[in-house]
C-alpha cells in the first residue's frame, strides 16, 4: 500500500480524534494488549501470526458485551480519505463487539487501506453481491441532539485503529 495512502488515513483519523498505532505482525500482540482496557470482548483476527490477548472473551453474551470496556474486531478494509474502518458482520459477532463496548479497537492490515470511496465501493459491491453486510464506521458514536456535541451514545466513545503492516 502506498505510503501516501497510510499518511492520508492517519491524518483523517487524527481529525476524527481516533487513536492510531502502526505495528508489525510480530509486534501486534503487544500493541493490542496496550490498546485494551479490561474487560474486553473480541472476534477472531484473520491475520497470519496475529492473535487476541488471552484475556479477551470470544462469543460474548449480551451481558458480557455490556460489561466490556473494549471490543476488538478486524476491519475488512479501511478508507483513507474518510478515516473509515469497515466492519463486516459475520456469525462471529463483529457488529455487536464493535458497537456495545465504550472502546472499539479495529485491527486492519496495511494492504487493506484503500485510498477513497471509489476503491471502497469495489470491495463493498463484492461483499453485498455475496449476500454480506458491512458497516462503514467513522470515528466515535456521536449526537448533537442534546444541545451540544457529545461522543459515545449508543456506540463507542473511543476508537483505536491498529494498523498491521505487511512486513
Amino acid at each position: 500500500m502506498a505510503t501516501d495512502t497510510v499518511t492520508a488515513f492517519r491524518e483523517s483519523l487524527r481529525e476524527l480524534g481516533v487513536e492510531f498505532t502502526r505495528t508489525t505482525p510480530t509486534g501486534a500482540e503487544d500493541a493490542l494488549a496496550e490498546c485494551v482496557v479490561e474487560p474486553a470482548v473480541g472476534t477472531p483476527l484473520p491475520f497470519d501470526g496475529v492473535s487476541l490477548p488471552e484475556s479477551v472473551t470470544l462469543d460474548p453474551t449480551l451481558a458480557e458485551l455490556e460489561r466490556a470496556e473494549t471490543g476488538i474486531t478486524p476491519a475488512t478494509f479501511a478508507i483513507a480519505d474518510y478515516g473509515t474502518v469497515v466492519v463486516q458482520p459475520t456469525d462471529a459477532g463483529e457488529d455487536s463487539v464493535s458497537l456495545h463496548p465504550d472502546r472499539h479497537v479495529a485491527v486492519v492490515a496495511e494492504s487493506d487501506v484503500v485510498p477513497g470511496m471509489t476503491a471502497a465501493f469495489d470491495r463493498l459491491v463484492t461483499i453485498a453481491e455475496a449476500g454480506g453486510s458491512a458497516i462503514f464506521a467513522t470515528g466515535p458514536s456521536a449526537t448533537a441532539d442534546m444541545g451540544a456535541l457529545v461522543q459515545g451514545v449508543h456506540g463507542p466513545k473511543e476508537v483505536h485503529v491498529l494498523l498491521v503492516s505487511d512486513r
Binding site: E66, D95, S96, T118, F121, I127, F136, S141, D145
Partner: protein
C-alpha cells in the same frame, strides 16, 4: 391562532435554537462540499440514478422482492398508511416492547400510535426522537427532529418527566441518561423497527445513515428487524450508492460522512442473543408515491434523499423551523412536494407560502431538485382550489389570466407590473393615496398589505420615457449593442439605478436601447400564477426576438428577472434558448466588457473611503453572479465585504404580507447584523428596501457606485 400569531410565537420560542442549529449545519455543508472535488459530478450522478430508479420503479420492486426473499426475508408492499400499520402490528403481535430508530416514513404513517393501540410499548431510540416522544411533539426538521429545543429546554423536560436523583444539566448528562434508559429498552425489545435511507434492488441491501449507533442496535439486538421505507428509496445496484454515501452527510449536517453507514443485507449473520433465527420484514410504502411518479410536478420529489439541506439553506426556515415551515409530517422546502403527494394539497397549503422562491436550496440539494418550482406549481394548484369573496375590488383592474377564484392578495402582487404602471401614471397622487392612513387601511383590509411597511414610491417619469427623451450614443461609435431590460421596478420606481446603468454602459462603449417591454412574469410566478407568468414570458420573448436576431445582448438589472430567463423559463418556455444564452446581469455584463478590453479608466475615481458591504440577491447567488460584482468593484479599488445571509427576507412581495411581516423583519435583522461599516450595496430591489427599512442605511445598486465614480 392566526398565521401571524403562530409565526410570532415560534419566532419567540423556537427561533433561536432553530437558527443556531440550522446555520451550523448550513455552514458545515459549505465547508464540507468545498473539499469534495467531484461535488458537481456526484450530484449529477445521484440525480441520474434517481431518475432512472423512479422510471423503472415497478421493475425494481419486483427485483427487490426476489432478492430479499432469496436472502430469507419478506417484502410487503403497503398501499397506504393503514395497510402498512396493519402489517407491522401483525409482525409485532407477540411483542411487548418495540424499539425504533428514526424513520420519517414511520412518522408519516404514525406507526407509534397504531402500535400503542395494539398494546405494544414503543420506544424511540434516536435521542432527538426520544425527546419528542417524551414531549409529545412532532419533528421540526427532517434530520434533527428536535432542533427547536435547547439543552436547557431538554433538561427541564427530562427532569420533570423522569425525576432523576441528580437533576440532569449538561449535554453529557442528558446523553448518558438517555442512552442508559434506552439501552435497557433495547435489551428488552422483541422487535426493532428502522427506516432505510436506500434499498438496493439487486442485492436486497438496506443502507442506514446514522451517527448515534441506535439504528445498528435496533436492527441487531432484537431477533426481529422490521424496516419501513417509501418505495422511492429503491436504487438499482450497490455501486449506485456511492454518490449518495459521499453526498448525504455533507449535505445534511456538514459531516463528510456520518459515524455509521450500515449496509445490511438481512437477515444479517450476527448471532441473536436468544439463539433463535433472525427474522426480517421490509415494508415498502406506496401511500401516494406511485401516483406522484405519474405527476409531472411531484415526480421530482421522489428523488429526495431527505437530507434537510433545503431547510438549512432557507432563510425563512432558519428563523421559524419546521413547526411553521412544514405540514403533517415533512418540513422545509421539499415538504410541499411530500405533503401534496402523501397527505394532499390541504396540508401543503398550510405552509407553502413560506417558500419565497429565493432558490437558495437549489444548489444545496444533492439530487438537484428544483424545489422552488415544486412550491410554485403546487401554489398554482392551491390557488385554483381557493375562493375569494372580494373580487369586485380588483375586477378589471388586474388583468391576469389565472382563474377568478385566486386569493386577492396573490392577485395584487402577481399583477405588480400593472399596479406599477398605473401608480406611475397617477404619481404623485397614487403615492399619497397609498401612504395615507385610509389608503393603508384599505390595502391592509383588502389585500393584507402590512401597514408597517413603507410602500414603493412610483416615479412620474419612467426610465423608458427618460431614455426616449435623450440622445443615445450612435451605434456606429459603439463596440457593443445591448437592450437594457426595464423591469417594472427599475422603470417605475427606482428609475435612478436604470439611469446609472445606461450612463455606465454607454461610457464603456455600449449602444444601449431601453424599449418598453412586457414583464418577465416573475411577479405572477412568485404568487403561483403560472398561467399568467407563462403568458408574460411568451409576450416578452416575442418582443425581444428582433433584438436577439439583430445580435443585441439583453442586460438585466434585477436578478430575479434574469433568474426567470436562466431558470424558470426552463419550465415556462423551454424552447427559448436565445434569451437564456444572450442575457446578462448588469455587473456580470460589465465584467465581460472589461474582460473584453472596454476602457476601465472612465470608471476610476480617487477617493479614499472605498469600503463597501455587498449583499448579493439570493437568486444572483444561486446563479453564481456574486463574484462578478465583487471582481468589478475590486478592480476599481473597492474593499468589498460580502454577506453570508442566504436571503434578505423581503423576497419581492413576501415582506409586505401582513401574515409574514414579522418573519420577514426577523430574517432581515439577521442580515443587517452582518453589516459592519462602509457603504452598503445590494443588487436586488427587495434587498435594498429591506436593509434600508431595518438599518436606516442608504443602500444603492452597485452600478450607482460606478456611475458616481464617473462624475
Amino acid at each position: 391562532m392566526t398565521r401571524a400569531d403562530a409565526i410570532r410565537k415560534l419566532l419567540a420560542t423556537e427561533g433561536e435554537s432553530v437558527a443556531s442549529n440550522t446555520r451550523t449545519f448550513n455552514e458545515g455543508r459549505y465547508d464540507s462540499v468545498a473539499d469534495l472535488e467531484a461535488y458537481e459530478e456526484l450530484k449529477d450522478r445521484a440525480r441520474e440514478i434517481k431518475e432512472d430508479a423512479i422510471e423503472r420503479l415497478p421493475e425494481l420492486i419486483a427485483q427487490l422482492r426476489e432478492s430479499v426473499e432469496a436472502n430469507g426475508g419478506t417484502v410487503y408492499l403497503a398501499e397506504d398508511a393503514e395497510d402498512a400499520n396493519r402489517y407491522i402490528a401483525d409482525v409485532a403481535s407477540d411483542a411487548e416492547v418495540l424499539v425504533k430508530s428514526k424513520t420519517m416514513t414511520g412518522e408519516e404513517i404514525e406507526v407509534n400510535d397504531h402500535l400503542a393501540e395494539n398494546g405494544i410499548d414503543v420506544y424511540e431510540t434516536d435521542l432527538g426522537e426520544f425527546v419528542l416522544q417524551v414531549a409529545d411533539e412532532a419533528p421540526s426538521h427532517l434530520v434533527a427532529p428536535a432542533i427547536h429545543r435547547s439543552r436547557e429546554d431538554i433538561a427541564r423536560l427530562l427532569n420533570a418527566h423522569f425525576d432523576p436523583e441528580e437533576p440532569l444539566e449538561t449535554a453529557e448528562d442528558l446523553t448518558q441518561f438517555a442512552s442508559e434508559y434506552l439501552g435497557n429498552r433495547i435489551r428488552e425489545a422483541d422487535v426493532g423497527l428502522t427506516g432505510a435511507n436506500f434499498v438496493v434492488a439487486e442485492t436486497g441491501t438496506l443502507a442506514l445513515v446514522t451517527s448515534e449507533g441506535n439504528a445498528r442496535k435496533t436492527a441487531s439486538v432484537p431477533d426481529t428487524h422490521v424496516a419501513v421505507a417509501g418505495v422511492e428509496k429503491l436504487i438499482p445496484r450497490m455501486a449506485d450508492l456511492q454518490p449518495f454515501v459521499e453526498l448525504i452527510g455533507r449535505s445534511a449536517t456538514g459531516q463528510d460522512i456520518t459515524s455509521y453507514v450500515s449496509f445490511l443485507t438481512p437477515p444479517v449473520e450476527t448471532p441473536t442473543f436468544s439463539g433463535d433465527d433472525r427474522e426480517f420484514h421490509l415494508v415498502l410504502l406506496d401511500n401516494g408515491r406511485i401516483a406522484m411518479r405519474d405527476d409531472d410536478v411531484l415526480r421530482e420529489t421522489l428523488y429526495c434523499v431527505r437530507c434537510g439541506a433545503c431547510a438549512n439553506s432557507c432563510a425563512n426556515f432558519q428563523h421559524v423551523g419546521g413547526h411553521a415551515f412544514g405540514g403533517e409530517t415533512y418540513t422545509g422546502g421539499i415538504a410541499t412536494g411530500w405533503e401534496a403527494g402523501v397527505h394532499g394539497l390541504d396540508s401543503a397549503a398550510t405552509f407553502n407560502d413560506l417558500c419565497t422562491g429565493c432558490s437558495r436550496c437549489v444548489n444545496a440539494c444533492p439530487v438537484k431538485i428544483d424545489i422552488p418550482w415544486i412550491n410554485t406549481a403546487i401554489r398554482d394548484r392551491i390557488n385554483r382550489e381557493g375562493a375569494d369573496g372580494l373580487e369586485f375590488v380588483y375586477r378589471g383592474l388586474l388583468p391576469d389570466d389565472d382563474p377568478s377564484n385566486i386569493d386577492r392578495q396573490k392577485r395584487l402582487f402577481g399583477n405588480f407590473s400593472t399596479v406599477a404602471r398605473l401608480g406611475s401614471r397617477f404619481a404623485p397622487v397614487s403615492n399619497w393615496m397609498a401612504r395615507s392612513e385610509p389608503g393603508r387601511r384599505f390595502l391592509s383590509w383588502a389585500f393584507g398589505v402590512d401597514p408597517r411597511r413603507e410602500l414603493p414610491q412610483f416615479q412620474r417619469e419612467t426610465l423608458v420615457e427618460w431614455f426616449a427623451g435623450r440622445d443615445p450614443i450612435p451605434a456606429d461609435v459603439a463596440t457593443w449593442e445591448a437592450v437594457l431590460y426595464p423591469d417594472p421596478y427599475t422603470n417605475y420606481v427606482d428609475v435612478e439605478r436604470g439611469k446609472a446603468a445606461v450612463r455606465v454602459l454607454e461610457s464603456l462603449g455600449v449602444a444601449v436601447r431601453v424599449p418598453a417591454l412586457p414583464p418577465t412574469g416573475r411577479a405572477p410566478l412568485s404568487q403561483g400564477m403560472v398561467g399568467t407568468a407563462r403568458n408574460h414570458a411568451r409576450e416578452l420573448a416575442t418582443a425581444l426576438a428582433p433584438h436577439l436576431d439583430a445580435g443585441r445582448d439583453v442586460v438585466v438589472v434585477e436578478p430575479s428577472d434574469l433568474a426567470m430567463f436562466r431558470r424558470d423559463y426552463d419550465h415556462l418556455l423551454p424552447e427559448c434558448d436565445a434569451l437564456r444564452e444572450n442575457s446578462y446581469e448588469l455587473l456580470e455584463y460589465i465584467y465581460g466588457l472589461l474582460a473584453n478590453e472596454a476602457n476601465i479608466d472612465v470608471l476610476q475615481r480617487a477617493e479614499t473611503d472605498r469600503q463597501v458591504t455587498y449583499h448579493a440577491h439570493c437568486q444572483a447567488r444561486t446563479l453564481d453572479l456574486e463574484p462578478y460584482t465583487v471582481a468589478v468593484l475590486e478592480r476599481l479599488g473597492y474593499d468589498v465585504v460580502t454577506t453570508d445571509a442566504e436571503c434578505c427576507g423581503m423576497a419581492g412581495s413576501f415582506g409586505y404580507k401582513a401574515d409574514y411581516y414579522e418573519l420577514s423583519v426577523a430574517v432581515g435583522e439577521s442580515l443587517v447584523e452582518e453589516i459592519d461599516g462602509g457603504s452598503v450595496i445590494a443588487n436586488g430591489v427587495s434587498c435594498q428596501e429591506q436593509i434600508e427599512s431595518i438599518s436606516a442605511e442608504s443602500v444603492r445598486h452597485p452600478v450607482e457606485l460606478l456611475a458616481r465614480d464617473m462624475e
